[in-house]
């Protein structure tokens, strides 16, 4: 009996494959949520220095900012804990228009 557990949602497998292919990779993980956050704790986003993205930590609201932090984490080698709150819909700031709050841990895959 085969045990095929191939999972298109397996962000870690994608991150490992990118790393094996010589990319610089960082992994962002939702570690805490409050209110109506779109993705639960444990949701992951893998990012490469070359700009590839896999997975998600929100409904698309904060992925850009997380990717920027991920690039910093890759450059510095230091993990970061990011806080995102509710955005003001009329301001050009990054936030969650759903009214939730999330904490995202960003770390280089070293």
């Amino acid at each position: 009996m085969t045990t095929d557990t191939t999972n298109s949602e397996d962000i870690l497998a994608t991150a490992a494959a990118w790393k094996a292919a010589g990319e610089s990779v960082a992994i962002a993980t939702v570690v805490e949520t409050w209110g109506s956050s779109p993705r639960p704790a444990g949701s992951r986003l893998a990012v490469t220095a070359s700009g590839r993205l896999a997975g998600s930590v929100s409904g698309g609201c904060i992925e850009g900012a997380v990717a920027d932090a991920a690039k910093q984490a890759m450059a510095s080698g230091t993990p970061q804990l990011l806080d995102f709150g509710v955005s003001d819909e009329r301001a050009w700031e990054v936030g969650l228009s759903c009214g939730g709050k999330v904490k995202v841990f960003v770390e280089p895959l070293a």
Partner: protein, 246 residues
């Protein structure tokens, strides 16, 4: 995350062993549980997280840790390597399920028809004895043939399977219920069977039926209260019922 930790985590997952990734949020220090020796409080949090299947942050000795459980995939045992099973197969893995198809009819249970799916060509009673459905298993019978479906349902009803579904019209199901009664399954047991199988989305084609079955399995897994009105603005025709098709 260290590449080495990632490799160990993926190896545990590939071996279908439960594993919890513990990450200290101040500096990224990490452990795997139960593979590594960790402080008692962390081990307790890890154990609880595997049970609840929920990731979360805890404070241990004044330091924040992220507790991330990785359970082996839930299983769906499908009896009948039929067209609907073929349509369910590509949906299963992305939804977090390992799908196993049981069918002693070797013309149906082929790698060509079900690429990448675990196939078991034993008779369903033997297959179920091997596969041992548990509380992380859904069982779906699709053959329409009592010789194949009934032994699987009998075994499923004796197990803790979190979902049991059987394809067939209400008339077919009534006859099936009579046969299962003869096998000693009473009303409460019979009520565990979702039949006709799948959410009522007026499904016609095999992929549509597969979608309705997968949706019903997800609903059972997530504890959705189907049939109850939604708390907030309900859609005009928010009719959701379990397994009743016209």
């Amino acid at each position: 995350m260290k590449a080495e930790t990632l490799a160990r985590l993926q190896a545990e997952r590939a071996a279908q062993r439960p594993v919890v990734l513990l990450t200290r949020l101040t500096d990224g220090a990490e452990h795997l549980w139960p593979q590594d020796t960790v402080p008692e409080a962390l081990a307790e949090a890890a154990h609880a997280a595997l049970g609840s299947e929920k990731a979360g942050s805890v404070s241990v000795d004044g330091e924040p840790w992220f507790i991330h459980p990785h359970n082996p995939p839930l299983r769906i045992i499908v009896v009948g390597a039929v067209h609907i099973a073929q349509a369910m197969a590509p949906m299963a893995a992305p939804l977090g399920f390992q799908m196993i198809v049981v069918d002693p009819r070797r013309a149906f249970a082929t790698e060509e028809r079900l690429p990448g799916v675990s196939l078991n060509t034993d008779w369903p009673d033997e297959a179920m004895a091997t596969l041992k459905p548990d509380a992380r298993t859904a069982v779906v019978t699709l053959t329409h043939d009592p010789k194949l479906d009934d032994p699987a349902l009998d075994a499923a009803l004796k197990s803790d399977a979190f979902y049991i579904g059987a394809l067939g019209s209400r008339r077919t199901h009534a006859k099936r219920v009579a046969r299962l009664n003869e096998l000693g399954h009473g009303g409460a047991a019979i009520a565990r069977i979702h039949a006709p199988v799948g959410l009522d989305i007026e499904a016609v084609t095999a992929p549509e039926i597969a979608l309705s079955v997968m949706a019903e399995i997800v609903a059972a897994r997530r504890g959705a209260t189907l049939g109850a009105p939604r708390p907030l603005p309900a859609p005009a025709e928010g009719r959701v019922s379990i397994g009743i098709s016209a």
